[in-house]
Amino acid sequence: MTGMLVALPALMPLLAAGVSLLVSRIQHAQRLVSIGVLSVVVADAAVLLGVADARGAVVLRLGGYPPPAGITLVADRLSALMLLVSAVVTLVVLLYALGQRVSDYGRAATTSFHPVYLVLSAGVMLAYLTGDLFTLFVAFELMLTASYVLITRGVTADRVRAAMTYVITGLTSTLLLITLIALVYAATGTVNLADLGEKLAGVDPTTRGALSLLFLTVIGIKAAVVPLHFWLPDSYPTAPAPVTAVFAGLLTKVGVYALIRVQTAVFAHQQAWQVLLVAALVTMVIGALGAVAQDDVNRMLSFLLVSHIGYMLFGLGLFSTAGLTGAILYALHHITVQAGLFLVLGLVARHTGATSLRRMPGGVARQRPGLAVLFAVGAINLAGLPPLSGFLAKVTLLRGGAASGTEMGVVLAGAAVAVSFVTLYALARVWVIAFWGSGKEGSADAERSGQLSPVMTAACAVLVGAGVAMAALAGPLSAVADRAAHSVLDVTSYRSAVLGGDR
């Protein structure tokens, strides 16, 4: 029955999306379906994590076909960890979105949001669980197509412009991904990740290197790795806050997960990969510098998002257990904190009516102390100051960098610290301009302030609180992340779990 656990996170949201379309006339039913199903997925992911941690990877062969031929779903510790955190974030962001819709439109909101959001979650969950390259592609497409719809909902000229860039970039990477799959299939005759790992070992190293590089490029577009990041700060900020939050929290991280999974299981790098480390360095630095130059808070956060993708690449690029542990911890931390900060800034924008720092009236800290606390905790966490989860993740990463003993590792560790300070500076600017000061009289009239629904604030609090909780659970969490990193790098046990038999 554990196999069922692996199938549910991807299938339940799809089923719910269908039901949601059927009952689209009944608002309450739609809401109940969405919340109910995502809660089930959270519970499922938690159980799955327990099982995978205790007994190793859970493998489900769809339709009972043996692995290289059929579609295999695999949940090992890494998948289950990402799944759990992502499921929590999708649920919380959904609650926030519902709070926003109720206070914005009353009960008669448009109904296409729920099914699309559910399909997006299904895509995200499937991407974590898939055991073959082609299903990974399908999962990406589920997720991205839903995201195209979410970003183009609501007709404004700005949004259409932004959506064009977003959709075209997404599509280009999709087409390159199909091309990559064709190349890989031509070289090996399989798309199963475990099987590919074995077969690619017999392929000419040059071809293998080229394929690995092409995969990095394709996923680099999706995960916004500099210099392929240009689309992200242009498109994300135009969407409504909850949509931006779920994009920023999940979509890029799914890309990072795919990179981790495929570069280890398939291409099986044995030592630090210089190309990836350089990409990590450039991503960190350019993202952070871009963030400092921004006036719009959402654009600023988007650049920070790009910058912090670099940290995860840094951890992965080392291809050591310590580095990978750091990357996993960082991804978990970043999913929650980035989504949380976008939601908090969404609330700030609703309160002040502005996203541009120049137009911010200031004084939010006095008018809305709760919001100020949420932002402060989130900002400190993102910058990686002790004692929150960002600090834990960064220290693990830095240890990995130092332990690698290579020059590049040390340079990157230094850059990571410097970029943390730049992050702190960028966020401190927001704090000083938006939260301090007296605030113009009457700028935030009582009516606007009254619109901040308790549900939305609570959703922000949960995500920001997750950072605190991760810090509180630092011991067990890093232990699990460490075991996850071990099992990710232990390619042979992954293969024997998926393909069966001793390899």
């Binding site: 199938a7 799809l14 089923l15 379309l21 689209s24 489900l60 339709g63 448009t110």
Partner: protein, 186 residues
């Protein structure tokens, strides 16, 4: 209003007899349901007659494709697309009014039903202890020495069929009718 008179002619001889005494050459039923709403200058007899004749045939073909799918060419996707094409034909002949007259359900509800059915069928084998998406088949022996093979994949294909049909109809509604009305969806 034009459609009303059309339906009257179709519906009965009571009112029709009064308006047109010599009703021998008026059709007892319009070729298509809402074709009277279409601007007269845009109507084409040839197209209307063809659509009338071809529409049921194409639908039948789509069902044939749906059932053939498991072992031969076809399947839910192909069937759904062909069924969608049948409605495209009606749309081309008589515009969006015809489409909404021909399809009374919301297209998205069809898509939803298809998606839900597909996932339920995918999960159902678990109840019988088989892995997700497993399929079973049985052969029915009918009188006169004939056999019908039924596979549980058929239910999956029906789901896909509904999903694709719903999607095509929704496309026609939003990109066809919506654009004609000079507005986007939502």
């Amino acid at each position: 209003m034009a459609s009303n008179s059309g339906h009257d002619i179709a519906g009965g001889d009571v009112a029709g007899g009064d308006v047109w005494p010599e009703d021998s050459d008026t059709p007892r039923q319009p070729w298509l349901l809402a074709v009277e709403d279409h601007p007269p200058l845009r109507r084409s007899l040839l197209l209307e007659v063809t659509a009338r004749a071809v529409f049921p045939t194409v639908l039948l073909l789509s069902v044939q494709l749906l059932f053939a799918g498991h072992h031969h060419l076809g399947g839910g996707f192909a069937g759904g697309l062909v069924a969608g094409l049948a409605f495209v034909l009606r749309y081309v002949v008589a515009g969006s009014a015809e489409l909404s007259a021909a399809v009374r359900v919301r297209p998205l509800a069809l898509t939803g039903a298809g998606l839900a059915l597909t996932t339920v069928v995918a999960l159902l084998p678990v109840a019988f202890g088989a892995p997700v998406l497993a399929s079973g088949s049985l052969t029915l022996h009918l009188p006169w020495d004939s056999e019908v093979g039924l596979s549980s994949n058929l239910a999956l294909d029906v789901g896909v069929y509904l999903l694709v049909l719903g999607a095509v109809l929704d496309l026609l509604r939003t990109l066809g009718a919506g654009v004609h009305a000079g507005e986007g969806e939502d």
